[in-house]
Amino acid sequence: MHIENIVESMCIKFQTRNPFEIARYLNIEVLFEQLGNIKGYYNKAFRQKMIHLNQNLEYDDSKQTCAHELGHAVLHTESNTPFLRANTLFPIGKYEREADYFAVNLLYSDNDIAEYSKYSVPDIAVAFNLSEQLVAYRISVLQNRHK
């Protein structure tokens, strides 16, 4: 199953796109902590999943990070300690990329993207504070769905 479909079915099930709420429905503890340079991370210990977020983040940033970590929690349940580094523009490896895809699919619905469709990819990237690669991916998802 593709990531976008997993996200959509979750949004329909829980009737929300708010990553914090979804985490609550999934019984994942979301903790705000001092984390220095790290934005957040996901871990699982003793069968309990947890998302840790840096308490110094702005609301939008923490929402984005939470969505990313939620991606880890849903897609890579067993992989412990994958960290989101200070710079999200260059995610490393397959897991980080998948978590990023999960996050953009969750945070921006098809309608959000369709609204901006007359703008160019770099413009949208700036508006949403995302990397161009992610925006291009999100748009391709939208186009595939309409086929």
Binding site: R24, E29, L31, E33, I38, A45, F46, Q48, M50, T81
Partner: protein, 142 residues
């Protein structure tokens, strides 16, 4: 009073409207509460407290304690420190990978991370203990 409610709203990132939708407490009650025109009656407070999974006592500024978590035994402490070492070792392994991008973690972040990991493991152990201990063994723990 309302401040605690506001903190809970922020923590779970929900709006008063959503509370109204989910619990059936009128929005006017919530806005009256906010503006100091009165406090919700006990039945409504109960609904709100249930929604957040806290006690009414906590909501009106009482005890911090949500529910009594089982205390950790010596064996649990051992489990935690074992898991901690494991995780840190994993982390060190990953560090080498991360170094390639020229962005190693600084010492301060590392320390904070270790603290956060420790506390998270303790919390996880407590939750797991409550959740996964079969009922017939639960009394022994107390």
């Amino acid at each position: 009073m309302y401040e605690i409610f506001e903190q809970l709203l922020k923590k779970y990132c929900v709006t008063p409207y959503r509370i109204h939708k989910e619990t059936g407490v009128p929005q006017s009650t919530l806005s009256d509460w906010k503006n100091g025109k009165g406090t919700p009656k006990i039945d409504k407070l109960k609904k709100i407290a249930d929604y957040f999974g806290v006690t009414v006592d906590y909501l009106i500024g009482g005890n911090e304690q949500k529910e009594s978590a089982p205390a950790l035994t010596e064996k649990d402490e051992r489990d935690i420190s074992k898991k901690m070492e494991e995780t840190l070792a994993q982390l060190e392994g990953q560090q080498l990978g991360l170094m390639f991008d020229g962005e190693p973690l600084d010492e301060e972040t590392k320390e904070l991370l270790a603290i956060s990991l420790k506390s998270s493991l303790e919390l996880a152990k407590k939750i797991a203990k409550q959740k996964y201990t079969p009922k017939k063994y639960q009394k022994k723990l107390e």
